[in-house]
Symmetry: C2
Amino acid sequence: APGNEDGEVTTGKSIYMVSDGTGWTVEHAVNAALGQFEHCLVDRGCPVNTHLFSGIDDVERLMEIVKQAAKEGAMLVYTLADPSMAESARQACKLWGIPSTDVLGPITEAVASHLGVSPSGLPRGAPGRKFPLSEEYFKRIEAIEFTIKQDDGALPQNLHKAEIVLAGVSRTGKTPLSIYLSQKGYKVANVPIVIGVELPDTLFEVEPEKVFGLTINPVVLHTIRKARAKSLGFCEEIRSNYSEMDHVRAELEFAGKIFAQNPAWPVIEVTGKAIEETAAVVLRLYHDRKHKCSMPRISKRY
Amino acid sequence: APGNEDGEVTTGKSIYMVSDGTGWTVEHAVNAALGQFEHCLVDRGCPVNTHLFSGIDDVERLMEIVKQAAKEGAMLVYTLADPSMAESARQACKLWGIPSTDVLGPITEAVASHLGVSPSGLPRGAPGRKFPLSEEYFKRIEAIEFTIKQDDGALPQNLHKAEIVLAGVSRTGKTPLSIYLSQKGYKVANVPIVIGVELPDTLFEVEPEKVFGLTINPVVLHTIRKARAKSLGFCEEIRSNYSEMDHVRAELEFAGKIFAQNPAWPVIEVTGKAIEETAAVVLRLYHDRKHKCSMPRISKRY
Ligand SMILES: Nc1ncnc2c1ncn2[C@@H]1O[C@H](COP(=O)(O)O)[C@@H](O)[C@H]1O
Ligand SMILES: Nc1ncnc2c1ncn2[C@@H]1O[C@H](COP(=O)(O)O)[C@@H](O)[C@H]1O
Ligand SMILES: [Mg+2]
Ligand SMILES: [Mg+2]
């Protein structure tokens, strides 16, 4: 939620996040932790402000940030690969009485003793490191480019090239879900289901194991579509057809029939799920079907 | 790197990652930690296999996973919102002699005492929670959809609607970078710079503060383009023009001239940077320019 900034921008508690890299890891971790306080964030009168300081790889800037955190009464969460930087952060926070948490150190130490190997202590982007243009790197970029081109039912003749095909009515989140999955390296195509519009033959010709149906509660979909019709400035006529409750129900029933005729497609209920939650469900099913492991998992090799 | 699977798929050390949610947080954290061991991963003969178990919200499945980890000699890294689940994981790992790290607990505890509020202890997706269709949620989806439509110089008449505009020659990573930024909620447009092709007037009409030039080392670009030309199956003639060293250099010089004529555009060197690293640089500059803070930061309100 964007927060009620009635000139009180400085109210609320602050969390300082510091990284010698991009800061996305510490941001992700703090975000997850804040999920545990949804009952008291901005909408409930207890706003939290996060401040991300990335690319912090010298002790001087680190100390300035700690001092500023002390002034503001903030806590500090950090990922610092250089053990002496991490130790400086820890000690300075102790000295200034700032609560602090090291997100990288504990995992790195555990991994080090598991592997029996010392960590490099080099931040990403450090001069010593060279960036490998790995196969995986190119695969991810190719997946993103493929997925963009296949958005919204485009190029149905390419469905066989997709690793994952998503089918669902408008506003079930096909596009953001496709993009999310493509960032993880999967080639995704999505096919809209629209009442009165024939689906491409190729949808029924590809292996059904890679097709996923998306469905959603009609009342929630109705709300989403009304908001969208308004923001797109649809004229009254299209708008009512698109976002009227009867039409919404009919379209979802139409989709439901298609799913019933294709029982090998798993149907995922997206109501109330964030994009990354639906993505987790899709990938769990995808990998289970592929590997038929006794214990469902997603495995990778580094 | 995808790893050399000479039938030895089971060699190497294993890391088990367990979450009651999507698992993306623990995966992100383990990924960052593994960055500290690049000198000894698969390419250097010390492969690591990660196994992600997501949606684990009952103690029975948790115990099965711990037992399997013990069998395999794996370590365990976990995010479990329910304190009794987290405690079960800790104790079981201790009992079975498995090294383990809690990624969520320490931050959550620190945030709890900082805010003076108890964490909910509810995993995401737990029945009690209701998902708010927040403004931010819709903004992110709109940004993704906008960005897809603007890819590769499309709809130049819409550049003024973008929050960030990226300009650079082919294979500087404009597309994946645009998509990455759009996932963070920014409307992005990218404009390719091609020798002999005129740039859209609108590029020079938008506020120069939101335009970012991308540049790259010619030798590295040459390597990337050769790989791409091959994978796209370009015919010899196009291929040589696109990926020949002289052409690559000339095109980068052409881009350099345009950047020099527009000194308000920051120029970002992408050589050797992962997409998320370039994204961090772009957003750092974007927010600094916008807020002119004494201490560069990216702030958010929850
Ligand atoms: N590929 C990598 N090599 C070395 N260190 C890394 C790598 N990726 C992330 N890190 C470190 O992990 C922490 C989190 O990274 P970031 O998400 O970029 O802030 C930082 O301390 C980085 O220096
Ligand atoms: N919005 C949220 N509300 C409550 N808990 C969350 C939320 N987001 C993440 N978490 C918790 O944070 C941890 C990491 O989440 P995930 O990245 O989905 O695996 C899990 O223990 C989740 O239950
Ligand atoms: Mg769509
Ligand atoms: Mg592109």
